[in-house]
């Protein structure tokens, strides 16, 4: 939960502390669904231009300008247009969309209505990760409330605009966070990424023009319409405008979601979060989930925007800041992540399917202290053969923790070999470290 500290810019998270914040009355009491009328008073293209001018970039990780994505929809195409909200939040460490949908689902629904209006879609889909049933129920309830209140359905607010929203539950695959795999899943097919081109803007869902946006991107739209593009663009940095939710997890005193302008640093965020776990130091962290190359204490002052994190050799990603202190074995952490990628590889392309299978075995051997220094070069070469060779970005992401950890912690890998095993006590990194009851 956010504080009132001046560094923070609570917009999406502003009402998370309100009693029964997820209900329609609570949202309307905070001015909810008023941006909708403002949007209906504008032309569709004016809404698109407002989002363009705001500088909003996709909050799902890639940072593609949202307004530009909307303007790619060919309006002369006779097929129906669709809006699809990517709520398949599965990236390890990422925890922003799920709490957002739990605490304030109506801001997403309002964003969906305005965005659909802008792209002339009369049907929108919210694709929610299937494992989070409580979130699915909450969004379904919010959509039902919105229908009952006349915010959805026919002739919304007397504007003449019709919109139906379908809340769809995924079937449990990380790959369906990839937008074309999501579309396949939504169409009832096996969740595997599609060949591009054609891009979804031209032939997406049911081969019709489709916009796919992250939950947070869509949820940001009402505030842009309500307060203006200038207001939004006044936050953040030159090329990374606005605010975003930063999820801090791991060895911090107060883990949670911190909504702040892009460009804030980890040092500032750690200050807000009460610092690293008592008695320990920061060892490494991920700026945007496990698929982004990890960073170390030397990057504490890197502004967390798309450009600066990129310049530091990583990616802003989903702003999922996983914080690891000095009790953590980096080899062990990387192995766990790699096991995740092996488990979640969809199997479509060879490098990811076979590569992750092999990476896990090589890493597992290293963690046990088996193997030799040459295995590090083998690992890096395997990563080189996966990165940029796989069909989609999942394969690329699988290599990030490995290559970045070897870059920063090569000596720690070697220590496993010289010591014949892991030099760390895994119990020390747990939340209950120091409280063990002797047998």
């Amino acid at each position: 939960m956010t504080t009132q500290d001046s560094v923070l810019t609570p917009v999406l998270t502003d009402m998370w502390d309100v009693e029964r914040s997820w209900t329609l009355p609570a949202y309307e009491a905070k001015g909810g669904y008023q941006a909708l009328d403002k949007a209906f008073a504008m032309s569709q293209d004016e809404v698109i231009n407002a989002v363009k001018d705001s500088g909003l970039r996709g909050r799902g990780g890639a940072g593609f300008p949202t307004g530009m994505k909307w303007s790619f929809i060919p309006q002369d195409n006779p097929k129906p247009k669709y809006l699809v909200v990517n709520a398949d939040e599965s990236e390890p460490g990422t925890c922003k969309d799920i709490p957002l949908m739990m605490a304030n689902p109506h801001v997403l629904v309002e964003g969906v209505i305005i965005s659909s209006y802008a792209i002339r879609a009369n049907k929108a889909f919210i694709y929610i990760r299937g494992e989070v049933l409580h979130v699915i129920r909450r969004v379904q309830a919010a959509v039902a409330e919105a229908y009952a209140a006349g915010h959805l359905g026919k002739d919304i607010h007397g504007s003449g605009f019709d919109l139906d929203v379908v809340v769809h539950a995924g079937a449990g695959a990380y790959i369906c966070g990839e937008e074309t795999a999501l579309l396949e899943g939504l169409e009832g097919r096996r969740g595997q990424p599609r060949l591009r081109p054609p891009f979804p803007a031209v032939a997406g869902l049911y081969a019709s023009p489709t916009v796919i946006n992250n939950v947070e991107s869509i949820a940001s739209v009402p505030s842009i319409v309500a307060n203006g593009a200038k207001w939004f663009a006044s936050m953040g940095t030159e090329k990374s405008k606005g605010y975003g939710i930063f999820s801090l997890s791991g060895h911090v005193q107060k883990p949670g979601q911190y909504e702040a302008p892009l460009g804030i640093t980890l040092r500032e965020l750690l200050d807000l979060a009460g610092g690293i776990r008592e008695g320990h130091d920061l060892k490494f962290w991920t700026p945007g989930g496990s698929s982004t190359p990890l960073l170390t204490a030397e990057h504490l002052d890197v502004p967390l925007d798309f450009e600066a994190v990129g310049a530091a050799g990583s990616m802003l990603g989903t702003r999922a800041l996983q914080i690891f202190d000095d009790t953590v074995c980096v080899v062990r952490a990387v192995l766990r992540w790699t096991e995740f990628y092996k488990h979640e590889s969809c199997g479509k392309c060879t490098p990811c399917r076979e590569g992750t299978w092999w990476l896990v075995q090589t890493l597992a051997r290293l963690e046990k202290g088996h193997g030799s220094e040459a295995d590090l070069d083998l690992l890096l070469d395997q990563c080189d053969n996966i990165l940029g060779r796989s069909f989609c970005a999942l394969g690329d992401g699988a290599t990030s923790p490995i290559s970045s950890s070897i870059k920063f912690f090569r000596d720690e890998y070697l220590a496993h070999l010289t010591q014949g095993g892991c030099p760390f006590d895994p119990a020390r990194s747990t939340a209950w470290a120091g409280q063990e009851v002797p047998a």
Binding site: L195, W358, Q361, N385
Partner: protein, 822 residues
Amino acid sequence: MTVSTPSTGSGTDEGGVEKATDLVNVTIDGIQVAVPKDTLVIRAAEQVGVQIPRFCDHPLLAPVGACRQCLVDVPDAGNGRGFPKPQASCTLPVAEGMVVNTQVTSRVADKAQQGVMEFLLINHPLDCPVCDKGGECPLQNQAMSNGRGDSRFAGNVKRTFPKPINLSPIVLLDRERCIVCQRCTRFADEIAGDPFIALVERGAEQQIGIAEDAPFLSYFSGNVIQICPVGALTSETYRFRSRPFDLVSSPGVAEHDACGSAIRVDHRRGKVMRRLAADDPAVNEEWITDKDRFAFAYAQGDDRITYPRVRGDDGALRPASWPEAFAVAARGLTAAKTAGGVGVLTGGRLTAEDAYAYSKLARVGLGTNDIDFRARPLSAEEAAFLAANVAGTVIGTDSATTGRLAPVSYADLESATKVVLVGLEPEDEAGAIWLRLRKSVRAGGTEVIAVAPYTSRGLRKLDARLVPTVPGDEPAVLAGLAADLDGTTVVLAGERLATVPGALTAVADLAASSGARLAWVPRRAGDRGAVEAGCLPNLLPGGRPVADPGARVDVATAWGVDALPEAEGRDADAIVAALVAGELGGLLVGGVDPADTSDPAATRAAIEAAGFVVALDLRETEVTRAADVVLPVAPVTDKAGTFVNWEGRVRPFEAALSNPSSLPDLRILAGIAEEMGTPLGFRTVPEVRAEMAQLGPWDGAGPSEASRLVAGAPRTSTSDGSDGLVLATWKQSIDNGRMQDGDKYLRATARVPVALVTQDVYASCGPTVTITGDRGSVTLPAVVAGDLVAGVVWVPANSFGAGVLSDLASPGSRVRVEGGQA
């Protein structure tokens, strides 16, 4: 390895000349090449002689980019900017000015390919020495050309699966070998439309699978074995039987239907081990039916006749030498000729050369036009239709000078806006036509209109528009289609229309009035060639009408005889009737199964009644057992020959096996003719081919309009109040046909014989029905066909007992349908 030629490679006669404006200039490995727009980089590279390794890519399947083996470096995408990462060349179309560096010149591309190859091999078993694919394996070959010599995977754990599982009775899957390139699933989905195999599980556990209750049943399933780039898919019949390097491969032409599909016959020490689809873009592309692929054991069975036999004084058949058999046959036929004459039934399986020999022997040696290749229900109307509309329409002959209809080709099916199917169920009866139609329908180019009693599975997969038709009503229905058709449309008329009075005339009228193009599609490989060879009572070779004196003189001159018999002869039904009546003295018969004929009992009686029977056949049959002289003939593997397919395309082939004791029909007929004192003037296939070429097609007038006789008026209405339902039937692709003998696995893939009934009939009769016709009755499970036209019951023609004609009734006749057991 599938290396394609560009899409225009099918020949200028169909592809047309590529317009220069459609060419795109690209530089591949420093070599400039101009290729048609939209060409994929992987194929453009073939034009400069560079083979980029690939697995998932197949020129006849949509690009998928799954295996990543074909990665190349693209420093300039044509817009001055390069791709930062290697690109899959199988999904990347060329662009003007594009620069591509393959493994030949780019270290990045080479390393990317080696990396992918290494990944593919980590979980691939090292069982090449016992794998069917070993020696012809794209993975093996490309691992050698584009992979590293040693493994870095040592000490790790391979993913394993239990060894092969059955996807169907005939297709097995070894999941360990599979590299999940998806060629098979894409084929099943895109080409055959039988998506009963699909990817299941994910990651390294991803595999091809089937649903528990739905095996991979498809008439085209064998193609997935052939396009599998590893040894993951194998067939029950070939698995562990041979190594590729022990096989001799001979090109051939499939003998199971009239499609003329190109095949490759792989044999070892005189025995056919397997058959594969050959690549013929103009005909079957790279696909064949499972029947064409697997049904070859019939020629290698125990019942193959290997030596001549003559009936001895004791009334039993005894072995004879060839000279003796020739002499006995000649003596008997000569006697029969004077005792009323000899009828000639040639069946539909002959090569054109063999058919020509029968045709010539009948006219020159036996002095008769009593010859007919139609071992099936037929009509005089059909013979007239064939003479007027089919004979002489051979691809390569100039229809402008012969005055014949221009032949319809496979390419014409693809470019047609509409194709009308009447009396033809192409998935069952002409697989290559069905595949080509589906390709065109999927591309959005063609609408299929089916004049049929119900929407079969094959028609459903063609998105066909059904014109629901009770068998017998086709003439009226066809007349109503005229407004739908024009010069861009094609009508395909199946041979089954012969059983419907007036139907073939209606087809010809429809084509004439609408301008639609017309083709006749028979079921058997030899049918079309037999028309050209003159194995009909009204036709001489080359489409020459018997009734035309000029045509007779033409042929008589070429054959060096004074005259030919003038009157049109008896057709097969009339020959049977004449034999039973004692009007004919003898019978020369080759490859006819009485069960296939319009009246099996009558045919059997005719053979019984005939004074003298000479039978030429491959295997023992009820005909050979009843014959006076039995002469063994060569199967298609043992002789050169020619099939003329439904298009009128000449499909010559050479002998695959060398078997000196196995003689083609024409050599045997030549021997008999010589003994009769009327030599045919040839003894070998090349001699017949030369004579046929010399004779050429008829350039005179076709049969006059007036001579087109219509046998019987169309039935006025089928709802005429008489009892029972109208019997609709045709032969399914896999059934009890004798040429499918010997492969139990293939036969296990046959569709279960059922009677298709309407909801009303099902409601009153229940799940089991007994159908009774004038020749017997049969009990079958009943299945409701949603849109089966009222008043009709459908059964497969040759999937139970001795077939519909022997055991039930004639197609189109009335049968009684009752619930339960008889």
